[in-house]
Amino acid sequence: MTLPGFVLRNALRNKRRALLSTLSVAASLFLLVLLQTLQREFTLPPEDVGASLRIAVRNKVSLGMPLPARQRPIIERIPGIAAVTPFTFFGGRFRDEAFTPFAQFAVDPVAFTNVFVDARVEAGQLADWLADHRSCIVGRDTLERYGLSVGERLRLTGTFYPVDLDLRIAGSYSGTLDDRSVFFHHRHLDEMLGGSETVGTWWVRAASAEVAPEVISTLNATFANTSAEVRAETESAFQMGFVSMWGNIKLLIGSISGVVVFTLLLVAVSTMSMAIRERFRELAILKALGYRRRELFGFILAESFGLSMLGALLGAGGAFLLFQSIDIQKLSGGMMLYFEVTPRILAMAFTVAAALGILASIPPALAVARTSVVEGLRTLD
């Protein structure tokens, strides 16, 4: 029998225990990968095709404060700006849902298509939307989720604004990272509110990536010391603002990951010790036959390492395959966008498993090394 064959037979001698050990490592590593992916999701701003060129402009006080509509001509005169659209969150509720998972925004349709260039709308539908200021375009995900069709009416109860919307669906859009929102004419909202002079935020597209920083600082400077100071930032920085609001949740996930790894280690050490204790007599015989301590350690290490790597393959690999094959965006109602198991996370999981395999083999190996041959042969347990 070859040495690898010997190790393999030993590892599989108690098949139930080998399976249970592997599965417990797999379950814990699955969890670890899940937590790390979740952590990444919370710390990463969504990246869109046009994100590097898009600039969000909000009231400096907070997102909750509106901006005066009269800022628009001033913004349009700033050099380096390709397009500007108002972008006002309507916050309506659909049907009798307690929580409506898609947002609705009032925009300037022509400028909107120039700012959000990655949103694709069929030409005929786009023309229809532009022509009728009581119509809207709906993200494809939302359209499919509710089984709506073009031409139907979309009624929304206002929660932020004291008006309700009754819009005709002129078309759908797709191709953005988050195809869920509803966009309608700002003019319609203004009419409903009786000539509102405010907008929620401005969204701007810079002419090129080079001028974007310049545009941002000009925007901030232009409205400094006015009654409505603004905070202009890139789309990713704007999204990061949302991300940072999760606060301690991130820390919590980090600590839980730590606990998971520690628990994992405990379990692995205890099962490995058990497996070795069972074979104390045999190991003593091997010792008597002239095998050296480091060779015995090699056997134990190979077995422990192999089992924990197999667990990692099942757990981390399983998580990778699972998250890749399911549509997490739909399942989480849009809370999660990517949920991608990156090579980095996989590498981390395997490193943990490797460390685990090595660490778990040390206590039993030490126990074997310390025991004399005679004692080992005599042991019963």
């Binding site: 929660t159 301690n248 379990v267 205890s270």
Partner: protein
């Protein structure tokens, strides 16, 4: 029956290494589970702890949160002199018209920025919220740019010490006092004078009204009147009920807690099974002896089950103890209703601990059942012969 029980307890003690490993594993799983549930409990308690059942909170019909509601000055004047409202000794109605503004302010130690809720409140506002106490400094004066911040927020945000100043929008505010909301939602707020706030942030309207009716009958009458007056477009909630319903933020945390617990417990069950199978394997001869002595199969199953549950109970208890260290630890996270940072405390309540213990028992039973059955099925003669 007495013998196996003692036997199992002794076993747990004799094989202390694997016992400790299993026990700690279960303890950590239970600890994590309890902590997440405790956080959800903290959020729920802060909502449930807010407001009084004797007062009415009036918001715009259709608005989902106080912060997105609008109450006009006309509506305020219409309700202000309602005969149902209690009056002070100076014969002024006990009404507070509040305005809520979201401020984006820097967190302490450069940890980014977060939204905080600023409540502009009337001179009678603090008196209508008796659970809020001033703990340091003084109350703000009407007509001045002075704020009182919750002492829990003061630990989390920059320039919230008494005497500090911070800027937002067109104005600079001076912190003149710290308040304590007694673990209510007010612990996540900044308070100042309502009319000053309206002027500074260019708000024509108020966000909500807080009314104290004379008595229960007056409260019912006023609620009905507001409800049925279509012109008002307002709705009156009993204050405590309104806040109690604002617990949406707790839902995803609970969900995460349950999911994590489930995933971790799968691992824990495997580990427990492993330990128990090993225990059975190592004790084959002893089990055979027990059977020969006349103990029945189901007694053996039961005794192993009891051993598992005993281990799980110990583990669960250790988990509870571990989680107690974090009882009262304040964390901040995004509140989905107000879109601002809310401060909560881990609330390790007896109910949460009991949930943790039940959870540990489930892990114990699931992890022990199969090995116990195996132990009972061992043929007596063969097991006696085994080494």
């Amino acid at each position: 029956m007495a013998l196996p029980l003692k036997y199992n307890v002794r076993n747990v003690l004799v094989r202390w290494r694997s016992t400790v490993a299993t026990l700690l594993g279960i303890a950590l799983v239970v600890g994590v589970y309890i902590l997440l549930q405790a956080m959800a409990a903290g959020i729920e308690r802060s909502s449930a702890n807010t407001g009084s059942p004797d007062q009415l909170l009036v918001v715009r019909r259709g608005s989902t949160a106080e912060s997105s509601s609008i109450v006009s000055r006309e509506q305020w004047r219409t309700l202000l002199y309602s005969p149902e409202i209690a009056r002070t000794d100076a014969d002024e109605p006990l009404v507070s018209a509040d305005v809520l503004v979201l401020l984006n302010l820097p967190r302490s130690e450069g940890r980014g920025e977060a939204n905080v809720l600023l409540r502009g409140t009337s001179p009678r506002g603090p008196a209508l919220r008796p659970q809020v106490r001033l703990v340091a400094g003084r109350w703000f004066q009407p007509g001045r740019r002075e704020v009182v911040v919750s002492q829990r927020l003061a630990q989390r945000f920059e320039s919230f010490g008494i005497g500090d100043q911070f800027r937002s929008g067109p104005a600079t505010f001076t912190v003149v006092g710290h308040m304590d909301g007694n673990r209510s939602a007010f612990d996540s707020e900044i308070w100042m004078d309502a009319d000053e706030a309206r002027a500074l942030f260019d708000r024509e309207q108020y966000s909500s009204l807080l009314l104290r009716p004379r008595d229960d009958a007056a409260r019912e009458a006023l609620m009905n009147r507001i409800e049925n007056d279509r012109r008002l477009q307002l709705i009156a909630h009993i204050e405590s009920e309104y806040y109690a319903s604002q617990t949406g933020t707790a839902t995803p945390i609970k969900w995460l807690g349950n999911f994590l617990a489930l995933a971790m417990s799968v691992g824990a069950v495997f580990a427990a099974m492993n330990t128990m199978y090993a225990a059975v394997g190592a004790r084959t001869r002893e089990i055979g002896t027990l059977r020969v002595l006349g103990f029945r199969r189901r007694t053996v199953v039961l005794s192993f089950l009891i051993e598992g549950v005993f281990l799980a109970t110990l583990g669960g208890a250790v988990g509870c103890l571990l989680s107690l260290f974090l009882n009262g630890y304040a964390v901040g996270t995004l509140n989905f209703e107000t879109f601002s940072e809310s401060v909560f405390e881990f609330q390790v309540t007896p109910a949460v601990m009991l949930k943790g213990l039940v959870f540990a028992w489930i892990v114990g039973v699931l992890g022990t059942l199969l090995p116990a059955v195996r132990a009972a099925r061992l043929p007596v003669i063969a097991s006696l012969k085994s080494v």
